[in-house]
Amino acid sequence: MSLLEIENLSLTIGDTPILKDLQLSVAPGEVMGLVGESGSGKSMTALTTMRLLPHAARATGRVSFDGIDILAATEDQMCALRGDDIGMVFQEPMTALNPVKTIGEQVAEGIRWHTKASRAEAEERARKMLDRVGLPSAKFPLSRYPHELSGGQRQRVVIAIACALKPKLLIADEPTTALDVVIQAQILDLLRDLVAESRMGLLLISHDLAVVTEMADRITILRRGEVMETGETARTLSEQLDPYTRQLAQASMHVPARAKPHATGEGKPLLEVEGVTRDYPGRRIALFRRAPDIRAVDDVSLAMAPGQSVALVGRSGCGKSTLARMILALDRPKSGTIRFRGETITDKGEAELKPARRDMQPVFQDPYGSFDPRQKVEKLVAEPLHVLEKQPTRAERREMVAHALHEVGLDQRDMDKYPHEFSGGQRQRLSIARAIITRPKLVVADEPVSALDVSIRAQILDLFAELNQKLGIAYLFITHDLTVARAITDEVLVMHDGKIVERGKTSEVLDHPQSEAAKALVAAAPDLHRAIARRMQEQG
């Protein structure tokens, strides 16, 4: 009899349907992967199991855990289960811990609550648990506060809380999505060890097919609240019986068709960056003493030719975004110069920067945050025209916007709509339309697709490739996702702790990295091909 059995579970919140006849089961010691795009209802499945649903939620069907009917259980029964027999780990480590309580208190609290242990005893067990999750007492005493820890370290504390009482079932809802690639690998290893050590059942929820393939024995594909397919991980993903599974798998491995890179023959380099450094003041630790400055970008030099497509990869916090902002003249370096199309831009005032700005535009990560919700698309996409010498008339402006919308595959009539009337993918297209309206020579894209679902991501990458061909726009892609770099760029620069540690042809660097940092990055980055191959050997 498996540990967790969910049969034809249907869930509605208010009057919107979330789940329809969901089937799912997790056996002791088994890792069940639950995969689906945003809005597929995967998190709601977990919350139903934990009975942590909002007031307006109505669930029907059967959810039984270890023989107990969850849907019919009383709140007190659920309180006894939660934290003791069922542990849960959440997506956002930065806000998952109570900022005003020490990590020791928050781990010990669950123990004392369930086992009525004394304070000293609970703290002793909390100490052991923190060591177990890789937070040694030397550096991480019980008295530390959450804000003194990094994202990865906080996720370890959350895991310690969830597993403190050796639960039978552990539910992990997107545990590593918000983390850096290298840290993600470490957290996944920790989860795998904990599950194996006490034969826990693990329900791993993620939108990243590669991560689930590496971890899960069996897999369930979810789309709009309905189960598309379920079965052995390797077999399901290699046979791809269900069309949605096939579409999902192929989108994850999609590489846009790119003709020969658009050679312009113009000898002059488009962008030259020489010896650029940027410091941030350290935190003040005493009245007049301040922690030493943090060097975000350390003596970086690089060059880009017109029409070239370059990727800037590295772990989060390695300084790639800071460098991008300085190139876009939105931030000033402490030292070093940046020349764009022969003009140095690091010493110019805002007015003198206008010509340079005309030829370089940004594309941002968060489709919801990169547009002012109070204005219509026409005004938003036309915003960069502000930089032109001769301001176009209203009619000319509308014509240029229409043209840009058409180039990114959107309809002219969308000009009079508000941003919130578009999906995430469409908004990213609007973002690109805004970037290309002034026919710039360089587009700096900071994590352009990392917030998108797999299937939409592929379309956007195609769009970038197409525009590079047609308009000869050079790209500087900032990303932590090697598959994106591999898919869309010719050159790659690997950054680590503010320095560029390796550069070269994308395929060469990513297939056999030389520098330590590049090696760690490539090893840690989840790759669906590799994961399926390895899973095939194990499951024969």
Partner: protein, 289 residues
């Protein structure tokens, strides 16, 4: 104090639909419109002329002739409440205008500029907040003489730091957003960005704070005119009516009850309106109290 602003994603029509289902908004809207109508009508018509003193029918109880009864000079209390409404609303409205007109640009500018300018503005804000509002209003009206205009200035001054603080907090939550970076990349200056992008996004917050300060303005004006420092006779004011009613509470309770109710209902209406707007337009924003 950082402000969590999750910008709403609705079209105008959906907002209006939601508005008329929100009880607080509807109640507040109806009350405020009624009071405004009463004040406007009073310019054209009131049951009796508030300037005529008819000592003969002094302190009469509510009757068919005088719905709310008469005061110690025989004037009709309903008419005086109508004209008094004009005075209270005018004082509170202009005071909020001053507060917003001066406070919001200051706050937005401080948030945009940051650094020393921000620090300086905050210190001035602390200074003005340090002065007890009512006491300073009394000093101002004592120096420049009582009267509606001085009451407006006295109340207005203390609205400025409130709006400066709200505008600054709101703007600080908007500046790090990515669409601001995009605007900077389009070469727009910080003032252009403040006007085009920042202000529209904190408009709801300011509107809500505006209704609250409007309500507090009504109370402050009543307080000042209770002490005899607000609008001077023959212009009636609610606070003054309460003061006159005090010595005649036992013999003529209606003289205190009706003006008191007028103040309560107006302030209640404005606060409900503020709550309603906040719930509809900016559900998650934490309103400054």
């Amino acid at each position: 104090m950082t402000m969590h602003i999750d910008i709403p994603e609705e079209t105008l029509s959906s907002i209006l639909a939601k508005a008329f289902r929100n009880t607080a908004f509807v109640a507040g809207f109806v009350i405020t419109v009624l009071i405004l109508a009463m004040a406007v009508i009073s310019y054209v018509w009131t049951p009796y002329d508030v300037t005529r003193l008819v000592i003969s029918d002094k302190t009469q109880g509510p009757s068919l002739a005088h719905w709310f009864g008469t005061d110690h000079f025989g004037r009709d209390i309903l008419s005086m409440i109508m004209v008094g409404a004009r005075n209270s609303i005018a004082v509170a409205f202009v005071a909020v205008g001053i507060g917003m007109g001066v406070g919001v640009p200051l706050g937005a500018f401080a948030a945009a500029r940051g650094g020393l300018v921000d620090e300086a503005l905050m210190r001035i804000n602390d200074l003005v907040f340090a002065f007890p509002a009512l006491l300073s209003a009394i000093m101002i009206t004592a120096i420049f003489g009582p009267g509606a205009v001085n009451a407006i200035i006295a109340i207005g001054i203390f609205n400025i730091p409130v709006f400066a603080r709200v505008a600054r907090a709101g703007a600080l939550a908007i500046w790090p957003r990515e669409f601001i970076l995009a605007a900077r990349a389009a070469g727009k200056s910080s003032t252009q960005i403040s006007i085009e992008h920042v202000l529209p996004n904190i408009a709801t917050l300011l509107l809500v704070q505006g209704t609250i300060q409007f309500a507090l303005g009504i109370l402050a004006e009543a307080g000042l005119s209770y002490l005899g420092l607000g609008a001077q006779p023959p212009m009636p004011s609610w606070g003054r009516m309460l003061f006159d009613a005090q010595t005649r509470m036992v013999a003529a309770p209606w003289m205190a009850i009706f003006p008191g109710m007028a103040i309560v209902i107006t302030v209640l209406g404005l606060n409900l309106l503020g709550d309603g707007i906040a719930d509809i337009l900016d559900p998650k924003s934490r309103r400054q109290r």
